[in-house]
């Protein structure tokens, strides 16, 4: 009987180990070998301004989009916690995850059409408010801004949910006694909420940084890396090499080149997670 127990547990662990080696580890190593096999591709890559431009775009995207996302997640989760019993909180609670459940392609279509210079809803609203039109998709900074807005719209809900869950496990008495002691909202947030959700918050933040490094749809679908390829990031640049120019080695090299960055972030995440 003891033997049977051991056997079934082992059998149960096989599929995921198998799929990890086949679909995660092996492909990565394979691509590494592929990109090292032709070193001139890599050296050509590192000397091309296009690559560094994409890298710069990636950094701008990461360091603007991720903080905005988490600021909004903190605000909306705070709203949900404070007003969870009122009608306002219930309405927001029912709808805030909507962007997350809608297929990315569909919402990207909606954004692209809303951002249109001549016929888009956003520019229509700006003109109605007496403001000048913004060429959202037609010049560099507005296009970066559009990418960031779409990414924030799409992914804030998920982080809101996770941070909301963390905040819900904080006992309410803590806030009540702090309120009696005369602590302001800001003080309560800084000295009660933040220390108690610090670990969760850091893990979410790092996870979001890692995943946003691989953001593809926001760029490929909303701006199509335009205008004139100015808003490419590493992911879309590598994808384009494979998809449009059938250059497998170059595409793989571009992806592999950000692996060190991703691995460092993953390592920090694992250290925090294990603590």
């Amino acid at each position: 009987m003891r033997r049977a127990i051991i056997n079934f547990g082992l059998i149960a662990s096989l599929p995921i180990i198998f799929s990890f080696f086949l679909f995660v580890l092996y492909p990565i190593i394979n691509s590494m070998i592929l990109s090292v096999s032709e070193p001139e591709v890599l050296s050509e890559l590192f000397s091309s301004p296009k690559y560094w431009e994409a890298f710069r775009n990636l950094l701008i995207f990461l360091y603007v989009a991720v903080p905005i996302k988490f600021l909004m997640a903190l605000l909306i989760s705070g709203f949900l916690i404070t007003y969870k019993n009122s009608i306002f909180g219930k309405i927001i609670g029912a709808i805030y995850l909507l962007p997350w459940a809608i297929p990315t392609v569909a919402s990207a279509l909606a954004f692209r059409w809303s951002l249109d210079y001549d016929f888009g809803l956003f520019n229509k609203m700006l003109t109605d408010l007496g403001l000048p039109r913004i060429p959202f998709l037609l010049s560099y900074w507005p296009a970066m801004f559009s990418i960031i807005i779409f990414h924030v719209w799409k992914w804030t809900p998920m982080w809101t949910l996770l941070i909301y869950a963390g905040r819900q496990s904080i006992p309410e008495e803590l806030y009540e006694s702090a309120q009696i002691d005369g602590a302001s909202i800001y003080q309560r947030f800084l000295h009660i909420t933040m220390p108690l959700i610090k670990k969760l918050f850091l893990i979410c933040l790092l996870l979001s940084l890692i995943w946003s490094t691989g953001e593809f749809e926001a760029i490929w679908l909303v701006t199509m890396a335009g205008p004139a390829g100015a808003t490419h990031t590493i992911t879309t640049l590598g994808f384009q090499q494979v998809f449009q120019y059938a250059n497998l080695i170059k595409g793989a090299s571009i992806y592999i080149s950000v692996l060190p960055l991703v691995c460092v972030m993953m390592l920090i995440l694992l250290v925090i997670f294990r603590r």
């Binding site: 009987m1 662990s13 709808i95 809803l121 691989g214």
Partner: protein, 283 residues
């Protein structure tokens, strides 16, 4: 005092409106455009001037060349999503069992399963797309369901494993012990006792895996190149590379494609949210 209370309610109302506006504005534009006629698409307005369901009829009857195989592509999306769901939940449940306190395997194997799941969960999925593409190319699986469903199942199962492990851990061990005394084997206990108790988790994971595949764009785009194998997201992506396009028809397609995931999400919201909640609270 009364004024303060009034002011608070007022600010609250404003905040609620801002969040609703932020969430709904693009969706709202999508809905409005989908009910416009072809000429009205080129006039920005908050409501359709002439309300029409023509765009939907065009899509459903496949009478415009960019949606000429709408039902086939929708069926492809559905079939692949079901394949991912079955495979992903199967792998996830087994791995979750192996990771949980319920399985009695060597600690090293257990932590290997846990680490492997964690690593593949936190790795950015899009950065794996080209490496997996090379793999599928090598094994001549491109342009088949398998290329998409195997890779997506492999990518969704680590999350499923963590969630399933949480659920298995939350089942009291006395439940299993009674069966053990009666001589049930580990497999029998898993199959007859633990699995029926994890039904809520299985529902949550199934819905999650289904949506994961249904909403995915990158993997099908990369792996499928033959028109008859396309899924709808690929075709919707192609809409974007055309000028002078019938946006009302495109929006109608987008809405039709968004209805199943939204319906699933709202039906099973309780299960899904509580599953995600558990993971977050544990950290």
């Amino acid at each position: 005092m009364l004024l303060n209370k009034f002011l608070e309610k007022f600010l609250l109302l404003i905040a609620t409106c801002v969040i609703i506006l932020w969430t709904f504005l693009p969706v709202y534009n999508m809905i409005v455009t989908s009910f416009k006629t072809w000429e009205d698409v080129w006039v920005a307005s908050y409501l359709p001037r002439r309300f029409t369901i023509e765009p939907y009829i065009t899509v459903v009857t496949q009478s415009y060349f960019r949606v000429e195989k709408f039902w086939l592509w929708l069926w492809n999306s559905f079939r692949i999503a079901v394949e991912v769901m079955i495979l992903g939940v199967f792998i996830g449940l087994l791995a979750g069992y192996a990771m949980s306190k319920k399985s009695r395997i060597y600690g090293k194997v257990k932590s290997l399963v846990a680490n492997v799941s964690l690593l593949s969960y936190i790795f950015p999925v899009s950065l794996l797309s080209i490496p997996i593409f090379v793999l599928m190319y090598t094994y001549k699986l491109l342009n088949t369901d398998w290329a998409v469903s195997l890779s997506l199942a492999a990518l969704v199962s680590p999350f499923n494993a963590w969630m399933a492990a949480e659920y298995f851990d939350s089942i009291p061990k006395e439940v299993e012990e009674a069966a053990e005394v009666d001589g049930a084997t580990a497999f029998q206990r898993f199959w007859l006792i633990l699995l029926p108790l994890t039904t809520p988790a299985i529902i949550a994971l199934s819905v999650y895996s289904f949506l994961y595949s249904w909403n995915n764009y990158l993997y099908p785009l990369l792996m499928l190149s033959d028109e008859d194998h396309f899924v709808l997201p690929i075709v919707m992506g192609f809409f974007l590379s055309t000028d002078d396009s019938p946006w009302n028809i495109f929006m109608a397609t987008g809405i039709l494609y968004s209805i199943p995931p939204l319906a699933l999400y709202y039906i099973f919201r309780q299960y899904m949210v509580s599953g995600l909640f558990k993971g977050a609270v544990k950290i």
